[in-house]
Amino acid sequence: MGEVHVHGVVPRSDPTAHARRVDHRDVAALVSDVEAGDLTAANVLRLHWRVLEEAATTATVLPVRFGTVMTGDQGVVDDFLAPRHDALAAELERFAGKVQLTVKGSFDEEALMRGVVAASPDVARLRERVRALPGDAAYYDRIRLGELVAAEVERARERAGERVIGRLEPLSLAASRETPAGIEAAVHCAFLVERERVDGFRDAVSKLEGELGGHVRLRCIGPLPPFNFTGEGTAAGSPAWA
């Protein structure tokens, strides 16, 4: 038996097969065989995501960190499912009927930049200087300008994040504020939501987007496995919402 990718853990009673399963007592690991052609991160990442995405639509699934490869089915049982059985079973119990929804927002770049220039005299001044000089001559000024703009954008992110958390956290069991990544990124928050309340949550996101006046576009991503709420180690104790 060859090496296997380990994607996640589901209850053994989950009837749907999203990937090959390795069963142990009342839990099962979702695995797939390591193929020779797999060895680029992008391929494996797609596979990992597909398995977890499908599983999360119906099952409670604990995601395993991307890139985890073990020495075969027996290894998955001996080194993972058996020694951590009780903790895994408890986690599955705790997340039963709950999914993660991630809300990401991005700025309208033009509106954002206009706002930054209007709000910061330093940016406006430096911008004029940079525009007056040929490209290479202003290299360090450009970096400085970008740095000032980045700081202003960061503050806009703060505010957008507060709005999103303030509005949506009450509709969730738990919320986690993450660092938005990317130039236009405004907001990144994760919410743990009862499966049957997902639609209502989506509606609230949609409504909130309207309230933000078109400056921030919001996307509600999921249902996802509880990536942001599955502890680094299951020994970390019960979270407050459990």
Binding site: E3, V9, T40, A41, L45, W49, L52, T57, L62, P63, V64, R65, F66, G67, V69, M70, D79, F80, T102, E110, L112, M113, R114, G115, V116, V117, A118, A119, R127, R131, R142, L145, G146, E147, V149, A150, A151, E154, R155, A160, A181, G182, I183, V198, D199, R202, S206, E209, G213, H215, R219, C220, I221, G222, P223, L224, F227, T230, E232, T234
Partner: protein
């Protein structure tokens, strides 16, 4: 205004999870960690490459911001039409954090985006050194 294009794969029309590009940061950073002594990770090297990109991304990000703010032709327009609500109270000490352009970088690194990212922003898709090296090695 520009709300028509707000949801290319909108949550309303399609209740399915979004593409990989939307979740790549989550997938790379989150999930249960199995004891390092019993797992065999094949992919660690490329993950490190992504980390390296993240560091490099910050100067790159500043330059892109500078470019973005320069591109704007504000001179003959009303400069006040910005983000009044979000920008208010910007006066002092905005230097709290350096920007993270990380995931844009990671997406490029992994060569993702073609089939998963139908966002309008077409970033440069640098196929990475690590990836092509790996493929060379395989082939």
């Amino acid at each position: 205004m520009a709300t028509a294009q707000a949801t290319p794969r909108g949550y309303i029309e399609r209740p399915r999870p979004s593409g990989l590009a939307d979740v790549i940061d989550i997938i790379l950073e989150k999930g249960m960690v199995i004891d390092v002594y019993v797992r065999v990770s094949l992919i660690g090297i490329e993950i490190l490459t992504i980390d390296a990109r993240i560091v490099i991304a910050s100067v790159d990000t500043y330059l892109r911001f500078a470019e973005a703010v320069n591109r704007m032709d504000i001179a003959n327009q009303d400069g006040s039409a910005g983000l009044p609500e979000l920008m208010e109270g910007i006066t002092e000490s905005g230097s709290k954090s350096k920007t993270k352009g990380a995931l844009a970088g990671a997406k490029e690194t992994l060569g993702l985006g073609d089939d998963d990212d139908d966002d309008k922003k077409q970033r440069t898709r640098t196929r990475t050194r690590s990836r092509s090296r790996r493929e060379d090695g395989d082939g």
